[in-house]
């Protein structure tokens, strides 16, 4: 597919003040409309990479472009195109479910009428309509996860970052979320997913990058990866690549 990539990360480097090298000159390109998976062990640099793209982390060097917009110099345009459903629940405890949606839309500059319309749509979609007046801190874990999801989609992003979206979610909700994520992707939304569940990556992603020690150690479609590493599953690829790195 031609055209501007949804995400273009070049030579991103980040060393923490503790001396840990979190990103070791990582480069990554994600085509528009892709369902892209980012896999790797804990501490591999996945979250630092995502945080550097959304400017929660400040990389020491390198560049990030979101649909051709520089994530730092054109941060307003770039950030407007990104939706994030973070690994840890971070809902504003003073707000109700409905307010969470409306305020989020406001933070992204969405006009009020459009925000109301979209709130109705998403509350309905995530079965939250009857909880709309409830404060978010009184919801169950699964419901909070659904609110996070709906919130990330509120401003109609072009790229969606899902950082461990199904962590701590029961099986039923997990399958429901999978279905919904797939549908969003079919509708043209670019998705970047990080997950610990390899079967989740295998079920959802078209392309996968394995990250370890702040570098991309393997990348390709699921079939390509399996073929390259003569593996029967992504789990086997993962163990071969990451295991090889660990034993090095």
């Amino acid at each position: 597919m031609n055209g501007t990539p949804a995400l273009k990360v070049e030579k991103l480097k980040k060393m923490y003040s503790t001396g840990v090298l979190a990103l070791d000159g990582i480069s990554l390109e994600v085509e528009a409309g892709r369902f892209f998976g980012l896999l790797g062990p804990n501490g591999a640099g996945k979250t630092t990479l995502i945080n550097s793209i959304v400017s929660l982390a400040r990389p020491d060097s390198g560049s990030v472009e979101v649909f051709g917009r520089d994530a730092y110099r054109q941060f307003r345009e770039a950030r407007r195109m990104i939706g994030v459903s973070p690994q840890e629940i971070n809902l504003d405890k003073f707000l109700t479910v409905e307010e969470t949606m409306l305020f989020h839309a406001g933070y992204y500059g969405v006009p009020k009428d459009k925000a109301k319309e979209r709130t109705e749509e998403l509350l309905e979609r995530f079965a939250l309509t009857d909880k709309r007046k409830q404060r978010v801190n009184t919801l169950s874990g699964g419901m909070k996860r659904r609110v996070l999801f709906a919130r990330a989609l509120m401003h109609d992003p072009k790229v969606l970052f899902l950082d461990e979206p199904t962590a701590g979610v029961d099986v039923e909700l997990r399958y429901k979320l999978w279905g919904y994520i797939r549908e969003l992707n079919r509708g043209g939304l670019t998705i970047l997913l990080t997950t610990h569940y390899l079967e989740e990556a295998e079920a959802l992603c078209e392309e996968i990058a394995l990250i370890n020690g702040g570098r991309i150690v393997a990348q390709g479609t699921i079939e390509e990866l399996k073929w390259t590493y003569a593996a029967a599953s992504i789990e086997e690829v993962y163990l071969k690549v990451v295991g090889r790195d660990i034993s090095r």
């Binding site: 929660l56 003073f94 933070y107 992204y108 500059g109």
Partner: protein
């Protein structure tokens, strides 16, 4: 335009919603405390002091008590709001939104300013029936109130963004602001103090704001109020630069 931008206006309205939603915690207790000050200091002590500079004691202390309430209210509002958002990580939603650090710092600072002004005005309104207060220079009083509230709200934003533990916030309130407020000439004229204490008081920013508010209300003051406006304006600018810097560089925000 920074102020007309919807993301900025949304955060400001969120800040207002926060303190109005929990008004039982944010507005009522300090209004009651101020009333107690007026009762205890004004009625009990006022029986002995009678007048300062020809003004009945209760009337003399009222503008200062209002300003003390305004300063502590604005400072506490921002420091808690920012610290809570940081501790529970919902500040991330703002940090990744299409909003500049300047706008975030300004929205938090203005939210606290409004709470401070409401609290200060509340004390004046509640106290006025006791003393029959006439405000000599209402516009000047409003200007001083807004500037002082903004200064201390920006200071609260700074500390909230820099704090890594809850004690840092209570330290600001109980070890810095409260003593400065008490020693800021609310309950006495600095002319009544011995020379070294009088000079020390001149370095207390709250003293300058209290003194100017007293002038605006009663036309009596220890210092000329007009240079004070310049001093408070400078403090407001400095405090806001601190807030802006803290939001963009504070620990556990953007790393």
């Amino acid at each position: 335009m920074i102020l007309a931008d919807r993301p900025f206006r949304t955060l400001l309205s969120r800040e207002i919603l926060r303190f109005t939603r929990i008004w039982v915690q944010t507005l009522i207790p300090s209004l009651l405390t101020s009333l107690l000050y007026l009762l205890v200091f004004g009625l009990a002590l006022g029986g002995r002091i009678k007048q300062i500079e020809g003004i009945p004691y209760l009337e003399y202390i009222l503008p200062g008590v209002a300003l003390m309430n305004l300063v502590t209210g604005s400072q506490m509002n921002s420091s808690w709001s920012v610290f809570d958002a940081k501790r529970e990580r919902y500040i991330d939603e703002l940090l990744i939104a299409p909003m500049s650090d300047l706008q975030i710092a300004l929205a938090y600072s203005l939210g606290g300013t409004l709470r401070g002004v409401i609290m200060g005005a509340g004390v004046l309104l509640v106290g006025a029936p006791f003393v029959g207060l006439n405000i000599a220079h209402p516009a000047l009083l409003l200007l001083m109130g807004v500037l002082s509230a903004f200064t201390f709200s920006a200071l609260g934003t700074t500390v909230g963004a820099l704090a890594t533990r809850i004690e840092h916030i209570s330290f600001l309130t109980s070890v810095v602001i409260q003593p400065l407020a008490f020693l800021g000439g609310v309950f006495y004229s600095v002319e009544m103090l011995p020379e070294p204490l009088r000079i020390a008081t001149l370095f207390n920013p709250i003293f300058h704001t209290v003194d100017a508010a007293r002038y605006a209300t009663l036309e009596v003051s220890d210092l000329n109020p007009y240079p004070t406006i310049a001093v408070v304006f400078l403090l407001a600018v400095l405090a806001f630069c601190g807030a802006w810097w803290a939001i963009s560089r504070g620990p556990n925000l953007r790393y």
